[in-house]
Structure formats: C-alpha cells, structure tokens
Symmetry: D2
Subunit: 403 residues, 4 copies
Amino acid sequence: MSGDIKKIVLAYSGGLDTSVILRWLQETYRCEVVTFTADIGQGEELEPARKKAEMMGVQQIYIDDLREEFVRDFVFPMFRANTLYEGTYLLGTSIARPLIAKRQIEIANEVGADAVAHGATGKGNDQVRFELGYYALKPDIKVIAPWRQWDLNSRTKLLDYAEQHQIPIAKDKRGEAPYSTDANLLHISYEGKALEDPWVEPDEDMFTRSVAPEKAPDTPTYVEIEFRHGDAVAVDGTAMTPAQVLTRLNELGGQNGIGRLDLVENRFVGMKSRGVYETPGGTILLAAHRGIESITLDRGAMHLKDDMMPRYAELIYNGFWFSPERLAIQALIDKTQEQVNGTVRLKLFKGQASVVGRKSPNSLYRLDYVTFEADSVYNQKDAEGFIKLNALRLRLGAMAKGS
Amino acid sequence: MSGDIKKIVLAYSGGLDTSVILRWLQETYRCEVVTFTADIGQGEELEPARKKAEMMGVQQIYIDDLREEFVRDFVFPMFRANTLYEGTYLLGTSIARPLIAKRQIEIANEVGADAVAHGATGKGNDQVRFELGYYALKPDIKVIAPWRQWDLNSRTKLLDYAEQHQIPIAKDKRGEAPYSTDANLLHISYEGKALEDPWVEPDEDMFTRSVAPEKAPDTPTYVEIEFRHGDAVAVDGTAMTPAQVLTRLNELGGQNGIGRLDLVENRFVGMKSRGVYETPGGTILLAAHRGIESITLDRGAMHLKDDMMPRYAELIYNGFWFSPERLAIQALIDKTQEQVNGTVRLKLFKGQASVVGRKSPNSLYRLDYVTFEADSVYNQKDAEGFIKLNALRLRLGAMAKGS
Amino acid sequence: MSGDIKKIVLAYSGGLDTSVILRWLQETYRCEVVTFTADIGQGEELEPARKKAEMMGVQQIYIDDLREEFVRDFVFPMFRANTLYEGTYLLGTSIARPLIAKRQIEIANEVGADAVAHGATGKGNDQVRFELGYYALKPDIKVIAPWRQWDLNSRTKLLDYAEQHQIPIAKDKRGEAPYSTDANLLHISYEGKALEDPWVEPDEDMFTRSVAPEKAPDTPTYVEIEFRHGDAVAVDGTAMTPAQVLTRLNELGGQNGIGRLDLVENRFVGMKSRGVYETPGGTILLAAHRGIESITLDRGAMHLKDDMMPRYAELIYNGFWFSPERLAIQALIDKTQEQVNGTVRLKLFKGQASVVGRKSPNSLYRLDYVTFEADSVYNQKDAEGFIKLNALRLRLGAMAKGS
Amino acid sequence: MSGDIKKIVLAYSGGLDTSVILRWLQETYRCEVVTFTADIGQGEELEPARKKAEMMGVQQIYIDDLREEFVRDFVFPMFRANTLYEGTYLLGTSIARPLIAKRQIEIANEVGADAVAHGATGKGNDQVRFELGYYALKPDIKVIAPWRQWDLNSRTKLLDYAEQHQIPIAKDKRGEAPYSTDANLLHISYEGKALEDPWVEPDEDMFTRSVAPEKAPDTPTYVEIEFRHGDAVAVDGTAMTPAQVLTRLNELGGQNGIGRLDLVENRFVGMKSRGVYETPGGTILLAAHRGIESITLDRGAMHLKDDMMPRYAELIYNGFWFSPERLAIQALIDKTQEQVNGTVRLKLFKGQASVVGRKSPNSLYRLDYVTFEADSVYNQKDAEGFIKLNALRLRLGAMAKGS
C-alpha cells in the first residue's frame, strides 16, 4: 500500500485527531503530507495549526480564510431554497464539507498530490460528503480515510500513539470530551456520548453560541434584513458582505437565545443519530427569506420550490453538492429568485425569530385585490366559474360511483 | 331563479352576516331554509343561534357538537403528515371547512333539501372549500353563495338590510371590526382591515388565545405527549380523546405564548393575503409528532412523506379534502404511521415548543449502532464500498467532461 | 360593451369560423379588427386568408411564418424533457398555443390594440392556453372569446350568420365535418363527432399525415439523428434548422406509419375527452432523445428530470407556458442538457420507431466498467459495503418490529 | 470463516454457475446446503435441477411453482402504477428478485438455516435486489455472494473448477454464450458480450420470445382485456388467473413481434449498461392498463400516480421492494385502483400494441359533457371565471415586473 501514494493533502485542524493522522500518514505511506487548514468561521485560532504542522515536518502548509466563499457560494445558495433536512435541521455541517473538499482538491492539483485524507470516522456522514466531493472533482484521486483503515479505534490507543510519536496533547484533551462538536460560521453541532440517550435533555452548559432563552433579554430586539435576488445584502440598513451578514445575525441570534435545535436525524449511512445544534443567524435568515418570498414570489414558483426542497436538502445532507442533480435543482431555485428583493422586519425574543413586517419594490401583494369592498379589479362572480370547473371532475366522480 | 329551489340548508353562525343571509334566502327563494350550526370549538355559545333562527321563522334547526369528529377525522389525519402550507401555516381554517360541508350535505339529504348556502365571500378560499366539498359529496346539489350574488356588498348596505328586516344587531357589531376572524378548536385567524399593510405589526390586544411571549411565565413548562399510530392519545400520562388532547394543548400553549404566526399567503383564487393566526395546541402537536417520528419512522418513509407534504397541504388549503388524490395521499401517509408509537417530552417557554426527549417501544434509534467505539454491529469498512459505488457515476461524469 | 374596445387583434385562420368571428367582432364592437394568421406548419395556403380579410375590410393584416420559432423555442425545449401528458400524448396542440398568444400580443402592442380575440370554444383547453398567454404577457389586455359570448352556438346558426353577412363558405364546409382538427408542424389532432364513442376505432380514411402501418413499406428504414445540447441538429448527416429537422422526420415517420395515437385525456376544464393524433416526427424525436440521453446523461439528473416531467407536461397542457414555474423547470431541464451530444440510430418500421444504436463524444457508458471479467476499475468487493449500508435501515426496521 | 455458518439455502438454477457455487459452498463452509429452485415462468424444466442437486449430495431440495404468486403479488401490483424505469424498461428482472429472496428466507426459516447464497455477480443490480430482500425479511441472516468472494473470476477458471469437482457440464455451455440472459413469465433479458457496443444492433437470432416484426402476420390481431380494480382478469372474454393472463398475452404479443426493447440503463451500482429485453405480454398489459385508467381514473389521482411512478420504478429497480416507502407508495397506488374496472380493446400489429377502444361501468367519460353543442350540463360561461382566476397571479406577476 505504502508504495502507491506519492503526496497527500490532509484536511488538518491542528487538533489531536488530525495530528495523529498526520503522523500516521507520514509513517504509513512514507511520502510528503501537505496540510490544509481552513477558516470557515469555526472560531478558532489557526496559527497554532501552522506551528504544529511545522513541528511535525510539514513542508507545504495551506491556511485559507474561506469565510466569504463559504457563505456566498454555499450557505446563501442553500438558503434560497429554504432548506431544512427532515423538517428542522439547517444543514450547518453538511454545507461546509463540499467547500473543504473543493479546496483540498484545488491544493492537490497545485502541489501535484495524488491523494487526499480526512479525519472523519467510518460511521458518520462526513466521510461521504468529503469523498463524494473529492471524486466528483478529481475522479482519479486516491482517498485515505484513516479512521476506517487503522486500528487506533479507541481513545486510549489514540493517546498512546500520540505519546509514542511525540505529538503534543493539550491538557484539556486528555480526558474525553462529553460530546464531539463541529463548528463553522453557520452553526455548531454536538453529538455522541452524553447526548446518546434521546430521552435526556442536554445540559445547559454545553451551549456556546447562544444564551439560554431563559437568560435572553426581557425586551424584544427588532432587526431589518434586506434581500436582493434572494440573498441578504444588508442588516438594519447597513450593506454587508455575505460573511458579515451571517456574523451579525449570529450575534443578534445568540444574544436572544435563537437557533437551538435538538433532534434525532437519519444518517445517509443508515442509522439514526441524535444531534444538538446552535444556528442563531441561520435561523433568523430562514425566517426572513420565507418572509421576503411571501410577498415577492409567485405561488406556482413557491409551491414548486417547496416540493423540491426536501429532495434538495437530502442531496446536500448526503454529500451530493457537486452532483448534476443538485446543480440542476439549483438552476431551478436560482431562476425563482430574480424578483426576491425587499426588506423583512423580525422580532427576536427569547428563542424566537418572528417575521412582523415585509415590503418590496417588486411586491405581488396588492391591497386593491385583497380588500373585500371594491370590485374594481377582481370580479367576485368569476369565482363561481372557477369553482364549478374545479369541481367538475369531483362531480363526475361522485356520479360514477352512484353516490 | 327563485322558482327552482325547494329547500335550502344554510351554514348558520347566528351572527349578523349569516342572519342577513338567512332572511335574504327566505325572501329571494321563497322556500324553507334549514339552519345548521356546528360547535367545532370556536368558543361561542350556540343557543343564541337557535333562538335567533327560531325568531326568524326557521322550522328545522340543526345544532351539532362536531368537536370530536373534527379532531379525530380531520385534524389528526392532517397532522400525521406534519402538514404546513407554504412552510409555516397550520391550515386551521382550511381543515374545518370540509367537515362543515360534509355535515351540511348530510342534513340536506336528511331533510330533502336541494340547495345549500354559505356565508363566505367571493374573494377568499372558503367559498372554494365549501363548494368543492358540496359538489364532491352530492354532485347535483345547488349552491347559493349570497356574497357573490347579491348587491349588499358593503357594511352599510348590510346594516340597512338588517334594520329593514328586523334582524337584531348586537351593539358591538354596529361599528366595523378592525379585522375578520375565524375560530375553531385548532386555531383562530385574523385578516383584513387593520392587518392589510404587511409591513405593520399587529396590535397586541388583537390576540385572544395566547398571552404575549413577553407575558408568559419566566420558567418553562414541560409536557409529555403519547402517540399511537401517529395520533396523540395521552397528555402527561392521562389518556384523552382527540378533542380533549387538543383542548389541553391549547391551554398549555396559550399560557406559554405559543403558536402565533403572521404571514402573507397565496390564496387559491389567485391573490396574496395577509393573515395572522394563533394555533397554540397545534404548534405543540406538530413539534411532538415530528419528534416521535424521528425515532420510529424509517428514513425512506419519512423522506417520502416530506416530499409529499407540500402537495398534500396545497390540496387541503385549496379545498380538495374529498378529492381522490387527497384520499390516495392519505393512504400513503397512514401506511407510514403504523409504528409511530411512543412518548415525546417538550419544553414550552415564551413562545417556543421544543422537543427535548423522545422514547418508544418501536424505536429505530439504536445506541449500539451509533457509538463510535465498538464495531460489533456496524463494520466501518463497509462505508468505503458504499461511498465508492455512490461516487462511481460522479467520477464517470467528471471523466467524460475531461476534468 | 361595444364602447369599451378600441382595436382588436384576432387570431384568424381564414376559415369559416374565424371569418364569422371577424364579422361579428366588427359588428359588435364597431371598432377596427386586425387579423393575424400564422404559418406554424399546418400545411395550408395563407394567401387565401389575406384575400378574405381584405375582402372583409381589414386594414392591417399580419401573416407570419413562425415555423422556425415554433420548433426552436417551443417544440425543442419541450422535447428536452421527454414530455408526455398522461403517459402518451406529445402535446402537439398545447405547445403551439403560447406562440400564437405571444405573437398576437406583440402585434397588439405594435398596432396599439387594447383587445385580442380567438376562435376557441368554451369547452376546450385552447381557450385557457390562449388567454393565460395573453394575460401573462399583457396583464391589462381585454380578451374576447366569441364562442363563450355569442348565441351562434350551433352549426346552423353559424351558417345562417355567414350567409346573412356575405361571408363566403367553401363548398366542403357546408356539410358538417365528422371531427374537428388542429394542425401544426408537430402534429394533427382529431376530435369530436365520429370519435366520441371511445369504444369505436377511428376510420382509416381520417388520417392525413401517415400511411397505415399495414400499408407502410415491408422493409425497415434506418435514420440517424445528431443531437447537440439536447436538440436535434442533423438528420442522416445533414445539418438542418429546427423546422427542417421536424419536417424531415415527419416525412420519414409518415411514410412508415409512425406516430398515431388514440386516447382519452383529461382536460384542464374538468372533463375527459377523446382525441386521436398523428405526430410522426415527434414520435421519432422522443425515442431518439431518450436514446441519446441514455448514454450521456447522469443517472441523478435523468431521474430528477423523469420525476419532474409529468408536472411539466401538465403545465404545458394546462396553458401555463409563460408561468414562473414552467420557466423554473425549464432552467432545470436545460441545465441537464449541456452534455447531451451525439448520434442515435433508429429503425422505422410499420408504426414503430426503435432505437438500435447510440454513440457520443461525451458518453458515460464505459465498456471497461461493465464487463464482468476484469476488476481493474471497479472492485466487486465494494458492492458488499454498498449493499450493507443500504440495507441497514431495513434491518433496523425489521428488528424493531420483532420480525 | 468456514466455522461460522451452519446451514445455507442456495438459490439454485441447476445450471453450470450455480452448480459450481453449490460445490464451492459445500467445500468452503463444510456445512449443509439446501437448494431452492423456483418456477417463475422462465420456461425451463426443473426436474434436471433436482437430479443434479441430488447427485451433488443435497439432502433438502425445494422446487416451487411460484408463477401465480409472481404475477398476482409482484407483477400486477407493479403494473397498477404503469411502471417504467427510465421511461422505457418494464422491470422484468427487477420484479422477480424480491420473490426469490422472500421464498428463500421462508425456506431458511423452515429448515433452520443461518445463511443464504445467490449466484449474482458483483457488478450488477441483482445482488442488491436479492440481499436487500434477505436483510429486510430476516435482519440477522448471513449472506454469501460467491462471485464477490472467490477467485473463480473467469470462464476458464469456472470450467476448470467444474471439471476438477466432477460437475457435469452441458455441451452447449462449454463455449461461452454471446450474452447472458434472465427469464421469467414477464420477460427475458440479454446483456453483455455481443451487446456491449451500444451502437451495434443485436442479431435477429438472439430473440426467443417474439418473432421479428418483419415476420409477424400481415393482418392485425385484436384482443380485449378486462380489468377489475386495476388488474387484468379476463382475455377475450375468458376469465383467467393472473399467470394465465400473462401467459396468454405473451403468446399474442410474441406472435405479433411486440415487446422488444433495446436500451442503455443506469444501474444502481453506478455504471450504465446495455440491455435488450423481450416483454410481449407486459407491453400489451401496460398499454391496456393505461387505456382502462383513461376512462375510469380521476385526473387528480392519475396525475398524482404519474408523478410518483418514476420514483416507484426506481425503488423496484434498486431492490427496495420490501422497504417502507415502496409499501407506502403501493398503498397510494392501490387506493386509486378501486374504480379501475372495464374492458380495453387493442390492435396488435407488427410490433405495436395500440389501444383502439375502452369501456367501463364506472366510466368518467361523459359524452354529454364533451359535446360542443348543448350547454345542458356545462356552462361555457364558467370558463371565463376559471381562466380569469387562474390568470390572476400571472397578471400580478407581469404588473410587478412593469411589463
């Protein structure tokens, strides 16, 4: 095995697991390993990762700030579809994986690597998301997934390996964490260990991105979000880049206890798992986007989008971001957003983000058509013919049954 | 026209509008009018309706308590599908109309009436829902929709007519209401007048079924709901009938400021309209049902349901409850609910209903399959083949493009 | 009524019905009527229509050859989706109506007309298709549908009116046709009268575009069609315009008895009707397009398209060509066609068009992946993991049921 | 490995491949092997399989005639949905696999076996279909797929093994077949070898179930098929069992050259493959079923079915017959078939099966509603209101764009 691989690009966080992987790759494949560390808004310093990689002999170290690309090209397109997996989950982890995979392959092309490696386990969805991304973008790439290959399949073995190979272990990593987390600008997730019994409510002190609704301010916060072609472009009147928008909404949402979610979800690999999420800004953004669509989007287009959404969400969850069918649905979604312009006003209060106002230069909401008094534009008598022809097949059906 | 109709069954609330309609029908068609008043949990005394009908010379007066039938045969089947119209609306008005229509037709058959009449206007969805119900159940029925036919198309004309015809007008009905409402055990709606500008937040004093989240208790309430075949059968350990369940959840939800919704929706008749809703119990029930499904429903069945839901919601919203396609989708939905048994625990707090626990004798959530350590039941190496075959077409596609 | 309308653009065929309509419009509205006659490949001389219009005093006469636009912008986009209504109908009539409506509105804008008129009856789909097109493109247009308005609702009355108003009647139009027809470059339809009993097979002498399969040549004809981005661009090696392609395929199909269809369909206005169609070229084109997609289109994209197709077909059948949702689905369809390039070989024989060969520079069909012997590119052992993870939820489900 | 398995049930055809597998299982696992051979209409004698199994020392030999169960419980339910995979394929192989799997598991339960084995290769769909069936019905079953496990991965090695182990080889099996086939009462398939270039038309002498259209009778054959609840129950007036119906239609179709199909399809395991099929009776049955639905099925139900069909076809093709989502869709489909009763008349001629007549006691086709003259039951004026309200959102959309 070791003879086949020439050069590996590793998705490297700088933490214990990927540091062990780094060393294990070097030992096992006896080839150069290039590290790639991305800032996608996980809220951690990246320089320590560089130092650690240098210390472990890595020659080529990539550290990229991908936050704007993440929100602009991944988060926002997904939000145009009002995407929710299984009715509730905002796909915070799923949507970040294709970006990592894409950049990793770009680097592999730049440095002439023939393999990539990641630190996802063999039981989760992330291995699928990474690897489908790799294969879709570079079909001849070799993929190394150490967690599926090695025998370091327990915490103890991992720590032993680290010690034997002089890999520094942060003090707080010696004990086992009560759950594993994944974070980026859209969300933070918690799963495993302490959360495994789905009947038991998580501890309040687990949460890091939002105050408890109970501790949120006793008066509501109002916020106005402006949209252009379905994307948020300004918050409270200030124009912002995509990452700035999401950062600002995360602050507002976090302060008001918004965006916590506790669920059991269906993994692509076949089992159910329990996850707890904090997505403060995303939760506000979803409500706001539905709000602006409610006055600017045609009914036919909206219902079509709604019908497609669960499938689109499933594609993203399962790791098919770069598939032809995701791209085709995206073309459909984007086509519907051309007139989705305007401003939404929301009330944020103790865990809830509620739309309380919406306005648009392209509004399809017409007061003169809704009011009950005047018949200038809408002839109530038309409704009779409308109903009669809609009823015709039902009447014929009832007659045929003899009822 | 007047000569054709022999006997009319009128959906009669006892209020000003349907009282005027009652008299207008008597005058216009010169035939017997039978009144039908239903208790579907709207929270009003029905005896005054009887007295008023008697006073106006009605011979056959039907007053029926349909609350159990409403929840059992209409609300619960709909909730099995996690139904939301346009992503947010719980269809509180839509789901009550087919029941009214059904009972009205039953009465028409009992009393030998050849026509039915309702008080819905010519601009809304309710006329469609009533009439599609009538036609589907009795294809030769004649339908009278006074609001589309007469010229009493203003408040002033209506009051004048009432006065001329000795129809008593409640004092508080003389002035015009700031919005129109519709209520039943599932929800109350508000629309029109003061709500017509979708940029303006509704007044707090409009709401009647829930305290403001700001005024709800400062400590959370926890509730446990038990499901059997997808329907709620007990609350906090007490077995209840369907209507009792919904009544209890309405209390709990109302006390905690849960279930308010402010939206702009797309009417079937073609325009957008703004509606504000309170659905306290239904909001809790939806979250709870999703919660119990999350551990008892197979992924394939769940995603299938999710894909069908927007269409199912549209059918109900548009009034096609008795259509063959609604019945067919219902068969699909009901088939999936056979194992949806168990208990969900929710936290209710200042406007939010959050699932915090779920358990079931039929749980598909298996701790032994999720834990990352032991490989006894799930072989991580299987994931490689799974990913490789899922990736194959993506790789072939990339190769064909020469990328 | 007559005072409101200033100028009318009439979709004018030159036949008896629209000639009576022309005169009736002139008489009823006392305003200028502009005629518009289109060549969409119906196979009739258009100059007689001009003469007749002149004779009836029309000042502005539009006669346009729209054949290329018809095939390029309407027929081909529809065929990219392999569109069939109710599993069998190629939508030959439906797809022509939006083009007529579009051109009619363009003319209305050019000549400053405030109304348009058409000759479709009040029972069919065409009135809907015309009028939805008009309203979508010019929302304030006034629409005149004489068949729904006048009292000339029998053949006899129509002939009487024609005679009274000096409208020339072709000899063969005096007797009543045994069925009504509609023709364009894609198809000819027959319905009504002699076809009304769906148990009775149509007479052979009704057909005009194809020989009976029984009389078609006893040896097969082979044809090769080349596609680019999903559209046919060459036949038997000769590059052709869209209309030329369809014309050539009509010849080949007609000679071989291909493209006859006898069905009962569901009209948008609510009843079922029986139609018989000849679509020789379209039938070949559909088979060929499926053939080229079979080797160039990714599975995910293909299945997505297949899932959307019935809905897309329904939209076209119902007249929603210019709706936002049709445009959005078209964006999805078109996105999938980028690599749909190559050549298909078909055998045409006595009513059947069968694909017998396909090749493409972008082929996704890879001999090396299909052959059973060598394992160079596909590892059979991967299948085990693939199956096991696909089976996992089914196994968990069976366990939960205790089976 | 060999120590784990106690008893194996093998799907055994009696041919060379499964005979080698039988011996290989006995040698490798050193345990009892039970053979199971099914008559599903493949048209081969089964007694030779018994003799061969006896000769190879098999103690428990199951030979079952499953033809009626096959058509009644698998083929007919599938045809209720008008099922076509990728627009053309009638799923003849796919639908037989779940039945084999089901019976094999029943036998495993009867004889106390802990493992099952099949002879499908590691590149095809059949392995998936068998194994998903096994796992769904008996989640703890052990599955042996010799083709994925052994090293007999060439024809030569297989023949060598047979010779070394005294397995009799039919003379005509010594040379390699030009393609592999699979047959049952619904169809016969051909794939591989001589068919691998999708540009090359198959040889005429490959086909076994149908004459070439060129050699079919020069005069059409007419046939009448009667349906009850969506299933064919009589042919030409003679009541028949499900298997009898299909057998009779196979004769009629085969004589008239009907049901040949040459395509490139997308396998579930990720690659495209070329298959040629003969499905004479099924092709007639599909046309007939669409025909009877065309007059008995409500439009809403039909379009719903059509929308679901590609997904249902994909589930069957991929092997998910026993999945919860297939069962749920089946419930939907079956619900729609309650009134699908009546008789269809078809013309069979040189490769084509064309519906030429249909009648039903539950017909929804009403002459009085279709005829253009009389307005007794349908008021043409209703169409105006119908169109106007359908157009309303399109008009509002056009206004909002300022067009």
